[in-house]
């Protein structure tokens, strides 16, 4: 059942690498935020799944609002001359680690429970 998401990841990767569109240098910041936001959402989704409180609306809306807010921050930073997008990068980075830690905890506890059952 983990095959389909992996296939999705692969398909996205293939499309991303075949697409030849030149991004203007000013928008590279925004792209990097989008990368982090999407990675964060994937890990957040997996974490929620393992904790049994998964909600598809929360996941997708979370991705879009997070990405939008981050893009807005980056834009505001550009206007103000402050690298505000770094704040978004920082938050996403921290969340990535937190999600990863949560996933690890859940998986480990699941594994232990299974052993005890056996």
């Amino acid at each position: 059942m983990w095959i389909l998401p992996l296939l999705g990841l692969l398909a996205g990767a293939v499309i991303g690498s075949t697409l030849t569109y030149e991004v203007p240098p000013t928008y590279i910041k925004y792209m990097s935020i989008a990368v982090l936001a999407s990675l964060d959402s994937v890990l957040g989704g997996v974490r929620a799944l393992l904790k049994n409180d998964f909600d598809s609306t929360v996941l997708l809306s979370g991705f879009f609002t997070n990405a939008l807010l981050a893009a807005l921050l980056a834009y505001l930073g550009d206007r103000l001359g402050v690298d505000l997008y770094l704040a978004a990068v920082f938050v996403f980075g921290v969340r990535l680690f937190q999600n990863l830690a949560n996933i690890r905890h859940s998986l480990l506890s699941q594994l232990r429970n299974n052993k005890q059952v056996k």
Binding site: G8, S17, V46, L59, F63
Partner: protein, 237 residues
């Protein structure tokens, strides 16, 4: 547990994979292109455009001069003949007509072999400098050269030989090595005087130097504009 989560996760994975590889690719492209070289390519296109424009203008000047010549030739009648002859010699002196005759062709190039052999050495020791061209030209003039051109650029009274970075400007045209200096005059005399100094020094420094005598050498006309805003003729006899 239902399988409701499968589709959203797949969509997210798809988006994440897409952005990840896309950004990777963009960054890979960026690292190979730096803004300075991009600006330089812009400048290069501007220079190329301007040079094209200069070429067009030069052609226009040439055409106008040809027309003028035709009109003048049509008017050759009696007394005018004398004036026409003096005009012709004046034009040769000014470098406004292509000329042909005996002479020599000197070819000099950067000492790329030497630079390759000593890559850590100062490259300035291995490239041709404008001063070397100036010296050769001066010696040719001493040797009685009647017409000189470098890479097809006729040298006239207003011609400059000037250093612009790694290129040389002659008649405001960029010239790059190898440099072919053609001179019309007595081949024996020119060879003698040229091989005595600057060329000898260059040969000692292992620059690729070549000197050929030519029976029939054609030196092109000066293509640029000639205007006198300040100079006025005075007391002409």
């Amino acid at each position: 547990m239902s399988r409701k989560w499968l589709l959203p996760i797949t969509i997210m994975c798809f988006i994440a994979g897409f952005f990840l590889t896309f950004q990777l690719k963009v960054m890979a492209d960026i690292s190979t292109v730096n803004p300075i070289s991009e600006r330089n390519t812009n400048l290069i296109t501007i220079i190329n455009d301007l040079e094209e424009e200069i070429k067009k203008q030069e052609e226009l000047i040439g055409e106008t001069r040809d027309n003028l010549d035709k009109i003048q030739e049509e008017q050759i009648k009696g007394r005018l003949q004398e004036l026409q002859d003096s005009l012709k010699t004046a034009k040769i002196l000014a470098g406004l007509t292509p000329v042909a005759g005996k002479g020599i062709v000197i070819t000099v190039d950067d000492n790329t072999e030497g630079l390759k052999a000593n890559p850590n050495d100062d490259p300035n020791k291995y490239i041709i400098h404008y001063s070397q061209l100036l010296n050769i030209v001066s010696e040719l003039k001493v040797g009685g050269a009647e017409a000189i051109s470098i890479n097809g650029q006729r040298l006239i009274t207003t011609s400059e030989i000037r250093c612009v970075g790694n290129l040389i400007l002659i008649n405001t045209t960029r010239i790059a090595p190898p440099f072919e200096i053609s001179a019309i005059g007595s081949p024996r005399l020119l060879t003698e005087i040229v091989t005595a100094s600057e060329l000898a020094i260059m040969k000692l420094s292992n620059y690729p130097v070549d000197l050929k005598e030519a029976e029939e050498l054609i030196i092109p006309a000066y293509k640029g504009d000639l205007q006198f805003k300040y100079a006025q003729t005075k007391g002409e006899n």
